[in-house]
C-alpha cells in the first residue's frame, strides 16, 4: 500500500475512533501514526519534509484565522491576566522539571514553553459542546487560548530564528515584521470590499486565501523571519468578520486534509520511548494537569470570576496543544530538542489532550469547588415562605422587578459580585455564588421557601438543584426553564415545574410579528 493510501486509511480509522469515543481527534491521529510506524515492514514517516511543512503552514494559517479581535471584546483584560499568569507559571515549572532531568537550558526552556500552550481545538470544542462559548467564562477561556497561540507563535519564531541566524541581512527581520504589519493593515482596510466580492465564487476564495498565505510566508522567508510567523500573520490578517467566516469554510477542507497528514506523520516519527522518556513525560504531565488549573484558577478568581468558573477554566486549559506538537517538530528539526525531549513532549500532548475530555467535566468542577470552599457563604436573616431567585442576569431584570413590586420576601443568588452589590444597595437580600451549590442553597434556606425560581441555563445545574430540593411534597415549588423536550421530561420527573419550549415560543413570537405565522389566538378562533 503506498504512503498516501496508508496515511488516509490510518487517518480514517483515527477519526472514527475519536468520533466513537468522543475523544479529541489529534491525539488519536498521533497514536495511529505511532501504530503504523510500529507495524512490520513500514519505514518511519518523514515529518519534516516539504509536504508536511506545507501542511504545517496551512495549520498555522487556520489557527490565525480564528484570532478575530472582536471575540475578545469585554474579556480582554481578564484573558490577559489569566493567560500571562498561566504561561509564566506553567512555562517556568516545565523548564525547571526538564532541567532537573539533565536537559540543557535551551531545550528545557523550549519544553517549558511547549507545556504552557493549551489546545485551541480541544478547548473550543468543549465550550461549544457545553454551550459555554457565549458565557463570560467561555470568552475568557477563548481569550486565553488565543493569547497562548500568539505567544506560541512568538516562541516558534524565536526558535526558528536559531535556524536562520546566518541570514546575511540582519536588519531584515524588522523589515519583515513591518511588511507583515502593512499586509495586515492593507487587508483589514480593503479586505471587506475586495475579498467579499468573491464570496459567490468559492473556488476563487481558496486561491485568494492561499495567495495571502504564500505572500506572507514569502515576506517572512526573504526577511529572515520563520515561515510560521508569516503563516500566522496571514491568518490573522484575514480573520475579521465577514472575511474570516467566508474563508474558514473552504480552508476547513484543506485543514482536515493537512492535519490528518501532519498528525499521523508526526505519530509515525515518534520512537519507542525508553523508561527515562516515560519518567520525564510523567513528570511533565503532572506539571500540565496540576499547575495549569492552579495557575488559571487563582488568576481567574482574582480577576472576578466565580470559584466554579475559575475551576472550570483551569480544567479546560489543562492540556498541551497542537502548537506544542509543532514546537516539538520544529525544535527537533533544528537540533534544539533531542529525540527524548521530542517523544516526551509528544506523549504529554497526546495524554493530556485525552485526559481533558475525561477530567474537564461538571462533576470534577463541582467536586473541586466543594473541596476548595474555605469559607461559608454570607449569612442572611432567617426567612420563611420566601422566594429564592437563582441567577439574576440582564434577562431576569423584568422578573426581579415583578417580584419586588409584588413585595414577595426575596433572596437572590448570582455569581456576579457586582450584581449582588447592586441588589444589596437596593435592600434586596443577595448572596454571591452558584445557584446549584448546596452550601449556597442552605444559606438561602431554600428548603423553607415557597418557591425556588431557577433562571440557570445549564441542564446539569438544574438537575443538581432538583436532586437537592425536588420530589418532596413539603418542599418548595421549584420552577425551572427547559429548552428541549427531553430536558423537560427529565426535569419534570425530578419534581420541577418546568417552563418549556422557551426557544420555540421566542421563534413563534418573531414569526407571528413578521406575519409568517398566525398567532395562537387566530389559529384557535374558528
Amino acid at each position: 500500500m503506498n504512503d498516501a493510501t496508508l496515511l488516509a486509511v490510518g487517518a480514517a480509522a483515527g477519526v472514527a475512533v475519536a468520533q466513537w469515543t468522543r475523544l479529541p481527534t489529534i491525539p488519536i491521529l498521533v497514536l495511529v501514526g505511532l501504530l503504523i510506524s510500529w507495524a512490520p515492514g513500514i519505514d518511519s514517516i518523514a515529518v519534516d519534509g516539504d509536504v508536511p511543512r506545507l501542511a504545517l503552514a496551512y495549520l498555522v494559517f487556520a489557527a490565525g484565522l480564528e484570532l478575530e479581535p472582536a471575540r475578545l471584546v469585554g474579556s480582554l483584560g481578564t484573558a490577559l491576566r489569566v493567560g500571562i499568569a498561566q504561561f509564566v507559571v506553567v512555562g517556568a515549572l516545565g523548564t525547571l522539571v526538564a532541567a532537573g532531568f539533565g536537559i540543557d537550558a535551551a531545550a528545557a526552556a523550549a519544553i517549558g514553553v511547549g507545556l504552557a500552550g493549551s489546545s485551541t481545538i480541544v478547548g473550543v470544542r468543549l465550550l461549544i459542546e457545553r454551550g459555554q462559548l457565549a458565557e463570560t467564562s467561555g470568552r475568557v477561556v477563548l481569550g486565553v487560548l488565543l493569547l497562548q497561540d500568539l505567544l506560541m507563535v512568538l516562541a516558534l519564531a524565536t526558535i526558528g530564528s536559531i535556524a536562520t541566524a546566518s541570514t546575511p541581512f540582519r536588519a531584515a527581520p524588522l523589515v519583515g515584521g513591518g511588511l507583515l504589519i502593512v499586509v495586515y493593515l492593507l487587508l483589514r482596510r480593503i479586505g471587506p470590499r475586495w475579498i467579499a466580492a468573491y464570496d459567490d465564487r468559492p473556488s476563487n476564495m481558496i486561491l485568494i486565501a492561499s495567495t495571502v498565505l504564500f505572500i506572507c510566508t514569502g515576506v517572512a522567508f526573504y526577511t529572515g523571519l520563520p515561515l510560521l510567523v508569516g503563516a500566522f500573520a496571514a491568518g490573522v490578517s484575514l480573520s475579521a468578520f465577514p472575511i474570516g467566516g467566508m474563508i474558514r469554510a473552504p480552508i476547513a477542507s484543506i485543514g482536515v486534509f493537512v492535519s490528518a497528514i501532519f498528525f499521523v506523520a508526526l505519530g509515525g516519527s515518534i520512537e519507542v520511548p525508553s523508561p527515562r522518556d516515560v519518567l520525564l513525560a510523567g513528570a511533565l504531565l503532572c506539571v500540565v494537569v496540576m499547575a495549569t488549573p492552579l495557575a488559571v484558577g487563582v488568576a481567574a478568581l482574582r480577576s472576578g470570576l466565580s470559584r466554579r468558573e475559575s475551576i472550570e477554566a483551569g480544567l479546560l486549559l489543562a492540556q498541551c496543544g497542537e502548537f506544542t506538537l509543532v514546537l516539538a517538530v520544529l525544535g527537533r528539526a533544528i537540533g534544539v530538542l533531542d529525540q527524548t525531549a521530542f517523544s516526551a513532549l509528544s506523549l504529554v500532548t497526546v495524554i493530556s489532550m485525552m485526559a481533558t475530555s475525561l477530567l474537564a467535566t461538571d462533576r470534577t468542577a463541582w467536586w473541586l469547588t466543594g473541596r476548595l470552599s474555605r469559607r461559608r457563604p454570607e449569612a442572611i436573616p432567617p426567612l420563611k415562605n420566601h422566594v429564592v431567585l437563582l441567577g439574576c442576569g440582564r434577562n431576569s431584570e423584568m422578573l426581579l422587578e415583578l417580584l419586588v413590586v409584588a413585595k414577595v420576601p426575596l433572596v437572590v443568588v448570582d455569581r456576579d459580585p457586582s450584581v449582588v452589590e447592586r441588589l444589596r444597595d437596593r435592600g434586596i437580600e443577595s448572596i454571591c455564588g452558584e445557584g446549584s451549590d448546596p452550601s449556597i442553597l442552605e444559606a438561602t434556606r431554600a428548603v423553607r421557601a415557597t418557591a425556588v425560581i431557577s433562571t440557570m441555563r445549564r441542564l446539569a445545574d438544574n438537575l443538581r438543584l432538583l436532586r437537592r430540593l425536588g420530589g418532596d411534597d413539603e418542599g418548595p415549588l421549584v420552577i425551572v426553564r427547559a429548552f428541549f423536550d427531553a430536558d423537560t421530561q427529565r426535569l419534570s420527573r425530578l419534581g420541577a415545574e418546568v417552563v418549556s419550549e422557551a426557544e420555540v415560543g421566542a421563534a413563534e413570537t418573531v414569526l407571528v410579528a413578521r406575519g409568517v405565522l398566525k398567532s395562537r389566538a387566530e389559529r384557535q378562533s374558528p
Partner: protein, 551 residues
C-alpha cells in the same frame, strides 16, 4: 528555505495565477485558461519555475507538484463520480456508449488521415489521431461546475461520453505501457484483457459496496464533517490503490469510488466539502500544465498543429452533435454537448509522452499535440463560456440544421425552489419552526449538518453547513422568501445574517444570550429570537399561574 523549495514554487504558481484571475477575470476569461497562461508566463516565458521532469529544476519539487496535480485530477474524477447515482447512469447509458465509442473511432480516423496527409508516417499518424480523439474531463467538468450545469442534461451526456473516452484511454495506455516495457505491440495488446478484467472487478466492488456495505457506516460518519471528509478521501485513495494494482488508471479508480458513494444521502455534502480542496489542486495542475508546455518545439510543425486544432474545434463537436442527435435528443442538447467536447485531453499529453518514450513518434509529433492542446483548450473554454452566442450564430447561419436533431427542447422539470423558507439547525426550536411553517402551508427547506436530524421532517431537506457558500447556492438562498437560523453558533449565525442581507433575503436569527443579540442588532439584523428573554417571560406567566405573584 532554498529558492527551489516546494513552498517557493507552489507559492509563485498560486500568487501569479490568483493575480491573473483577479486582473483578467473581468474580461470573462475562464479560470482554466488563466491558469494555463500563468504557467506559460512562469515557465517558458520568464523561466521563474522549471517543471521539466527534473531536467532543469529540483527533482523533489517536480515530484511534489506532480503529486499535487495528480491528486487534483483524482479528486476531480472522484467528485464527478459522486454526482452520478445509478439512476442517472441507467438514464443515459445508451447515448453515452453509442456516441462515446463511435466518436472516438471517427475522430481517431479523421485525425490520423489529416496527420498522414500532412507528411507524418503511418504509426505517427495513428498515434496523433488517437490523441485527438479524447476531450478533457478536467476542462469540461470544471467549466460545467463553474456554470452550475453538472446536473444538466447536456452536462450529464458529455460527462458520460468522457467516461467512455476514459475507458478507451485506459486501453490505449495499457497497450503503450506494454510497448514501453516489452517493446512489442503484441505484448501490449495481450495486456488489454487483464485491464478489462480489472475494470470488471473494480466495478463489481463499487456496486457491491454501494448496495450492501457503505450506507450505515457513512451515515454514522456524516454526523461529523471531519470524519466524513477523511473517510471519503480514504475510500477514494483505496480505490485508486486497487485500480493501480489492477493495471487501471488512478482516475478510473477515483471515479468508481465516487460512483459507489453517490448512492448515499451524504454524497452531496461530501461533494461540497471536497470541492475547495479539488479547486486548489486542479489550479496547480493547470499552472503546471502551462509551465511544462514547450511552444517553440511545436512551432516547426505549426501547419499540422493548426490543421488538427481546426479539426478538433470544428469537426469533433459536429461529430458528437450528429451522434447525440441519432439518439433522439434536441438540437439544443446536441449543440451544447458537442461544444463541450471541442478540445483534446490531458490524457492526450500522457499518451504522446508514452508513445515518444516507446520511440513510436518523434519529439516534433509530440510537440504538435502540446500546441493543439493549448490552442483547443483555450478556444473551446472561451466558446463554452459564450455558448449561447456561439450556438445562436451557428443556428442563424443554418449550420445546425444538418445535424438532423428534433427542434423541440426536452421538457425538464425545474428542481430549483423559489419563494421557500429556509430553516437552519434542526434543534428542538428548528424542528418546531419547520412543523409550524409546514402546517401553515409554507414551502420549507430544512438544513442541518447531521443527516440523522433531518430524517422524518415533513419538508425538503439539505445536508450541509451554511458557512459553506455552495450549500447556500444549492439551497437557492437568493430565491428564498425568508431565512431562519435556529443554531446556537454565534459565528455561523453572523455570517448567515450577513449573506442574507447581501442577497436581500429577510432573516431571523437565534441569539443564545443578550450579548449575542446586541451584536446582531449592531450588524443590522432586524429579527432576533432572544430565547432567554422569551423564556423569562414565560417564567413570569408561570409564577402567576402558580399564585407565587398576583396575575
Amino acid at each position: 528555505m532554498p529558492p527551489d523549495n516546494l513552498l517557493h514554487t507552489l507559492g509563485l504558481m498560486v500568487v501569479v495565477a490568483t493575480a491573473l484571475v483577479v486582473l483578467l477575470g473581468r474580461f470573462r476569461l475562464p479560470e482554466i485558461v488563466i491558469c494555463i497562461v500563468s504557467g506559460l508566463v512562469l515557465g517558458p516565458a520568464l523561466g521563474l519555475i522549471s517543471l521539466d521532469d527534473g531536467k532543469g529544476g529540483d527533482v523533489a519539487v517536480d515530484a511534489a507538484i506532480e503529486a499535487i496535480s495528480h491528486l487534483g485530477i483524482v479528486l476531480l474524477l472522484f467528485l464527478v463520480g459522486l454526482e452520478l447515482s445509478f439512476d442517472r447512469i441507467r438514464d443515459l447509458g445508451k447515448v453515452t456508449i453509442v456516441a462515446g465509442s463511435l466518436q472516438v473511432l471517427l475522430v481517431w480516423l479523421g485525425g490520423a488521415a489529416i496527420a498522414g496527409a500532412m507528411g507524418f508516417g503511418a504509426t505517427e499518424a495513428i498515434v496523433l489521431g488517437f490523441a485527438t480523439a479524447f476531450s478533457s474531463t478536467v476542462v469540461v467538468v470544471r467549466l460545467l461546475g463553474e456554470r452550475g450545469q453538472l446536473s444538466s442534461l447536456h452536462g450529464r451526456i458529455a460527462v458520460g461520453i468522457l467516461l467512455v473516452q476514459d475507458l478507451a484511454v485506459i486501453l490505449g495506455l495499457t497497450v503503450l505501457h506494454g510497448l514501453g516495457e516489452s517493446g512489442s505491440l503484441i505484448e501490449g495488446v495481450r495486456a488489454m484483457p487483464m485491464a478489462l478484467l480489472g475494470l470488471g472487478l473494480l466495478l463489481a466492488a463499487a456496486i457491491v459496496a454501494a448496495r450492501h456495505l457503505l450506507d450505515r457506516p457513512f451515515s454514522w460518519a456524516a454526523r461529523n464533517p471531519q470524519t466524513l471528509v477523511v473517510w471519503g478521501l480514504a475510500w477514494c485513495l483505496l480505490f485508486v490503490f486497487l485500480a493501480e494494482h489492477l493495471g487501471l488508471s488512478s482516475e478510473i479508480g477515483a471515479f468508481l469510488a465516487g460512483v459507489s458513494l453517490a448512492q448515499l444521502p451524504c454524497a452531496g455534502d461530501l461533494e461540497r466539502r471536497l470541492h475547495p480542496l479539488m479547486n486548489f489542486f486542479i489550479a496547480v495542475f493547470f499552472v503546471a500544465l502551462g509551465a511544462k508546455m514547450d511552444p517553440a518545439a511545436a512551432l516547426s510543425a505549426w501547419p499540422v498543429a493548426v490543421a488538427l486544432s481546426v479539426f478538433v474545434l470544428i469537426a469533433k463537436p459536429a461529430i458528437v452533435a450528429w451522434l447525440v442527435a441519432r439518439c433522439g435528443y434536441s438540437v439544443e442538447t446536441c449543440g451544447r454537448t458537442g461544444l463541450l467536447l471541442g478540445q483534446v485531453s490531458e490524457f492526450s499529453f500522457i499518451l504522446v509522452a508514452l508513445a515518444a518514450g516507446a520511440k513510436l513518434i518523434s519529439e516534433e509529433a509530440s510537440g504538435v499535440i502540446g500546441l493543439v492542446g493549448l490552442v483547443t483548450i483555450v478556444i473551446s473554454a472561451v466558446a463554452i463560456l459564450h455558448e449561447k452566442q456561439v450556438l445562436g450564430r451557428l443556428g442563424d447561419a443554418g449550420l445546425l440544421r444538418w445535424v438532423g436533431a428534433r427542434r423541440e427542447p426536452e421538457s425538464i422539470p425545474s428542481s430549483e425552489a423559489r419563494g421557500h423558507v429556509i430553516v437552519v439547525g434542526m434543534t428542538g426550536m428548528g424542528r418546531r419552526i419547520v412543523e409550524a411553517l409546514v402546517a401553515d402551508g409554507q414551502r420549507v427547506l430544512a438544513i442541518d449538518t447531521d443527516p440523522a436530524k433531518l430524517r422524518g421532517l415533513p419538508c425538503r431537506t439539505l445536508h450541509g453547513t451554511i458557512d459553506d457558500r455552495n450549500v447556500l447556492k444549492t439551497a437557492n438562498l437568493a430565491g428564498a422568501s425568508l431565512a431562519i437560523t435556529a443554531l446556537r453558533i454565534e459565528d455561523v449565525n453572523r455570517l448567515f445574517a450577513y449573506r442574507c442581507r447581501v442577497e436581500g433575503v429577510p432573516c431571523i436569527v437565534h441569539a443564545a444570550g443578550r450579548t449575542e443579540a446586541i451584536d446582531l442588532e449592531r450588524q443590522g439584523v432586524e429579527h432576533i429570537v432572544d430565547s432567554r428573554m422569551q423564556g423569562n417571560l414565560r417564567l413570569i406567566a408561570s409564577l402567576a399561574e402558580q399564585d407565587v405573584v398576583s396575575p
